[in-house]
Symmetry: D3
Subunit: 182 residues, 6 copies
């Protein structure tokens, strides 16, 4: 059972300027194989399916708690994408050509399918898939997987940071870094 607090885990700076190409890149950190949807759902299913919760209580607690924290991570990355997309197009009196400026720019689904908002897809626009969840039932193997998953997630964050010249996007790196360091 879950509760939700209507607040982000960290304060995010607003995007300096609208940037649909950066928004496309940051999608990798949300819906990519190593994005926050993957970390969220891996820990979540591992906690749901955990057998022997009493005998292995510290492991169960660890997995269940990280799963919950990851909910805040998809929220943060979605907020980043939304901020980068804000102001990309202008509301005018006439609907004609309102989206002409973004033809061929970034992920076309940000403009044609969603309302210029975050989607559970990667930087190519391909949907996040439940195939990215690994949960063998062998707790040692699951931990090994998680270590690999977090390492891949860190790599993705570093690279998106290097690609986006916008302080907003750079912040997507923070949450995981803190977890790695402290």
């Amino acid at each position: 059972m879950y509760l939700r607090i209507d607040r982000l885990q960290v304060e995010l700076p607003a995007a300096e300027h609208p940037d649909p190409r950066a928004a496309q890149a940051v999608q990798e950190l949300l819906g990519g194989r190593f994005g926050e949807m993957s970390t969220l759902m891996n820990y979540t299913y591992q906690s749901f399916n955990f057998r022997g919760r009493k005998e292995l209580k510290p492991f169960y607690d660890l997995v269940a708690n990280i799963a919950t924290e990851e909910l805040g991570h998809i929220e943060l990355v979605a907020a980043t994408i939304n901020s980068l997309l804000s102001g990309t197009t202008e509301r005018g009196e006439s609907p004609d050509y309102r989206l002409a400026g973004v033809a061929g720019v970034g992920n076309p689904h940000h403009f044609l399918v969603s309302g210029q908002g975050a989607l559970p897809v990667n930087s190519l626009g391909a949907a996040w898939s439940g195939d990215y969840v690994f949960n063998s039932g062998d707790v040692v193997l699951d931990m090994l997987h998680n270590f690999f998953l977090e390492s891949g997630a860190r790599m993705g964050k570093l690279r998106v940071y290097e690609m986006a010249d916008n302080p907003m996007a750079a912040c997507t790196r923070s949450p995981t870094r803190r977890r790695w360091r402290s």
Copy 2:
């Protein structure tokens, strides 16, 4: 930001007998197009991307609150699947043939890939996909979608209820029904 309480939303009866075929069917209610993963992620992304939260506060609150309740729904359906799979195979002294009894029965990934636990897949074993999320940015259209989604979810629950002769599986129908009726 989220908190998690280590308790299910409702009490579930234990499965009367192991039933891998029912577990395969109940997967439709977790990872199918109209399963709880879909309701969860539709409301969640709609709340993340909601613009005009102040002007449309009752709608934002509704969407955000349902999203949070849906987290408890994937937890419930996963618990149902796990209970149905429990005891399907026996732990013996020799690993030989331990899984021989489930060759060709139910979803083979329950036995070969997961540790006899719930997966984010449907009754065919196909992974849940981010393509199932709809969020147009037009709040009327999004509400229409959600009404259709919940109607499809209800249909799925009724049919799984009719297929599974196990009180455990029948309970999967309850949470949504309550929401529909009261």
Copy 3:
């Protein structure tokens, strides 16, 4: 522009007995890589995109006409599947356990998702995909593709015929065979 006549291209015998396993197999002839959805959509897109319609009129006419005939083929195979599924379950007074007899039998989506009707999927339940359409713009290469496609379709029909012990399913072979022979 198209017209529709509310009649099947050939008369189909009714299924001798309900047979969800045969229905699952016949789906390969509808939504498989070499099924009627593929022949329909290959000829259709080749006709839509045909350049030089005057210079190559006989080829354009051939492709456009076969495309139209294929519409009748998806209709026939769907009718076959529907006949095989008819009567699989019984309507009783109580909905309890109405679908219990088909747990683990055939394609679960025939019972949980569709109303015991044909779906645009193959014998594994995987959806037909637009990736199966080939249209290079080189008419010789497109014709070569079509010859291969029809040969693969013939193979599929022969094998489903050999698998299904039901006169209804056997008829799915007829339409294409006639085209091959006369």
Copy 4:
């Protein structure tokens, strides 16, 4: 059974200038989740699988007739895409670099896989999928779905209209609008 008349449902203006980026966007209206392939196939399968055709004749006729009209819609949208792609590249004496001008522009499959023609894919180049078909067998639920589907299709058409500064692409909005208004 179907007949085909070698004429478009409405007259289309020619594209003012070649525009591969607009062609890429218009693909969403052909092979996207809410594109004409989806409306066509939803009505088509709903009509194929319709039980109780006598008792519910007005509904059966409605669904079967719309299905037929939708065939003309995929034809119209394909014609639009073909017109937008015409003249994108020049036929020269030497094949060298003939496609150099479209490297990185629009959907690469328009140039590398198809012969600069329409494909059953969306604006990302992802194939149309049979998973987009909904046919529950419950006629009320199917109608609700269709209402949602048409609403999503209308949204897509409006947005592509706003993105493409070409009278040709704007016409893709017409057929459905007429159906909505008159």
Copy 5:
């Protein structure tokens, strides 16, 4: 550049009896996320893309050599599946009902699409995907991935071994085990 020797890496016992259900399970070891197609293609692409081959020669050699050995592994697992499928159906004088005995048994594509031979798919019949390849360009991270991949592969082999009561299938475990132990 490669050479091929027309011989298996190890001698395989013949299948004791035809077993299409075991063949379906063994497909996980060929085309599953942790199957031999994945180990083959991960090492192969890591070797193709290796930069700094001189400076890191021992690592390059290791990766390139394992890649080559993996070619023999997909050959072995395919041979196992073929042996398990041999004799499943009988060649009679009449083609009628020749495949009737395998309706609803194992992977239907073994009988309807392939010629009762191995396919690059997993135990659900889902195709192997290039998405399973990981190659970050960071050699430490790639090694970590490979360690996880091999651990997942080992788990899969143990479980298929426990499911299949056929000495032939049991042998699929051998090649990797030897590599792990000696």
Copy 6:
């Protein structure tokens, strides 16, 4: 069983200049439906599953030998892509903005997921799929398929040649052309 020789089949000229758009296009020749992954895996599975090797020895030898040669082809196309990507970005002292120059250019996975190396994907970034393998068990039909496959592969190579103004990419056409002509 296979051996590998650490040498390319032909000598490749180095790319004249880094060209991520050409690298994206050349991916079609590696992981597309008609790319070298497809030719490799079609011949490979056809040779693995070949029954009657003695009676049909010339056919078996032909298929098995081409399969082996195709391994060298994926190696060549991967080397082409790697050469085109080399130097696209610069190694500086600060990681900030190192990838800013390639935001929105080519395939984002070349920069965010792989280490600027070849991937088993097509020009859209979609993964190569085992569904591209055809092996019916009917040797005549398999040969017909292969003839179609090679014709499609030739078309793809010609078009990529016309798109890329880089001598390196042009070479990707050579290996197959030689096989067709001599």
